[in-house]
Structure formats: structure tokens, C-alpha cells
Amino acid sequence: MPITNVEKNPDDLMLRATCEFDAPVERVWQVWADPRQLEQWWGPPGVTATVVDHDLTEGARVTYYMTDPEHGEFHGWWHILAVDPPHTLEFRDGFAYEGGEINEDLPTTLTEVALTSPAEGKTVMTVTATFTSLESMEQLLEMGAEEGMVGALGQIDDVLTGVATN
């Protein structure tokens, strides 16, 4: 498992995951910055994600949709709040209607990414997600369950029980 630490702060509704990768910072940054790579991990497994707009500059947006054979399409966006390649990225992410208009009724999350290099060829990445309310967290989980994210638990177990050799 790449995750070395997960910090949860119920007071601030914040989750911070720290990971270590055997890859240089520039390479890890690409996984966020290259839309073709982003679509391979951001969404739940088994669901095809398509990134439409992808501009990692302050004030710009990333838009994407996912196609789930059972529930059809759903649309999401990131609004870039701060960026300093290849080290920091801060964005608010949420959901949209099919036409791309932001759906204000669905929860948003503030996500902050920081990449540092403790040694050559290694990267420490922290991802901090801050939620707006208990209700929005519940809603995200309900949506996650619908999209099959929670159903992916079995896959994680496989990884945890030794399939992971990375």
C-alpha cells in the first residue's frame, strides 16, 4: 500500500492521506495533470471516466463525466483555486447537471494536494479533503455506493492481502 498515514479530524470534517511513491515528483504530478491518466483513477473501478476540459491553472476548471452502465452518466467538476506545478494543487470539486451546469444541491469537497521529495526518485504526497457538513459527507457516501465505489471494497481487500507487490 502506498498510504503511510491517514489522519481524520471529525472536528474539522477533514481527511488527510499521506502516501509515498517510488517515483519523482514530476512523474506523480503527471497523474493529476494528464487527463488521460486522471480518468484512470479518479472514478470508481469499472466505470469509464472521460475528462472533457482540463486546465490546471488558477480559476480554471476540470470537467469530466462518468458512464455507468446501470445509472447512466454523471458529471463532475473541479474549480482550481491554487496551483504550483509540480508541488501543490488546490481545488473545490463537485457535481454538475448533464449540460455541465453546476449542481448546487450536491456536496462539494475542498481538496488540497502537496507533493514533496524526501529523496531523489521518491515522492511524498498528501491529499487533504475537507467536507462542508456531516450531511454532505453522508450524501457523498450514498452517491459513492450508487456508483459502485463502496462496492470496490473487495478489490481493496485483495490489494491489502498481499496482491500488492509494488
Binding site: 512523474r27 473501478p45 445509472h71 526518485g121 450508487e146
Partner: protein
């Protein structure tokens, strides 16, 4: 994504609104943090902030309405205690969201492992 089918509990919604409102203020979050670390009296809290005891009382009342703290009397002191059940709910939700992120980050790493060549663009 069939958001319309989500069943909503109106009581939970109202509770969430109160909690969200209570946590939307820096001073109140700070008071809650202190209460979590151990019971605080209102007068002790008032000494920590450049605002009046009345203002502190108002903040504590908002936290109390959201079920984040309770107030109890001990002699002349009014004690502010955190309510672990509401925080436990937040903690439980974070645990579940942690699973989503672990899943995501596992795929993130697999992607790095799959394409080592790109790690050396030169």
C-alpha cells in the same frame, strides 16, 4: 447517477444544518476543540478570547443547539463539555470516506507502477 432516488431523513437534514452552522465559525470551532481536549468553564474560555463572556455564551449556545457540546453547572462555574456522539458520527463518516480514498490512491499508485518509463521523460 440517480440522485433523485436518495431517501432523505428530514431530521438528519435539520441536524446537519445546525452542525454545519455551528462549525462555520472559527471561534466556535476553536471552543469545540478546547472542549474536546477537556471540559472548559465558560469563564476560562472567556479569558482565552478578546470577546465578552456574553459573546462566548452565545457561541456555546450555538454549539449546544447543534448537539456538539453540553453545558453543566459545577458550583458557580458553567462547564462546557463536548458531545462525543456527534463527533463519533463525523468520525464514522470519515472512516467510510477513507475507504473511497484508499481505493482511489491504490489505483493512483498502480498507474505509476504501470508506466515507469514516463518517470524519465528525458
Amino acid at each position: 447517477m440517480v440522485v433523485e432516488t436518495l431517501t432523505r431523513d428530514p431530521d438528519a437534514e435539520a441536524r446537519a444544518d445546525l452542525i454545519f452552522h455551528a462549525l462555520a465559525d472559527t471561534t466556535r470551532r476553536d471552543i469545540l476543540r478546547r472542549a474536546i481536549q477537556g471540559d472548559r468553564s465558560v469563564s476560562a474560555l472567556a479569558r482565552d478570547y478578546p470577546i465578552s463572556t456574553t459573546a462566548i455564551q452565545k457561541h456555546v449556545a450555538v454549539l449546544e443547539r447543534a448537539n456538539l457540546v453540553t453545558r453543566t453547572r459545577r458550583g458557580r462555574e458553567q462547564l462546557v463539555q463536548s458531545r462525543p456522539d456527534t463527533l463519533a458520527e463525523a468520525h464514522q463518516l470519515l472512516e467510510e470516506i477513507e475507504v473511497l480514498w484508499r481505493d482511489r490512491l491504490t489505483r493512483f499508485e498502480a498507474l505509476l507502477a504501470d508506466s515507469p518509463d514516463e518517470s524519465n521523460p528525458n
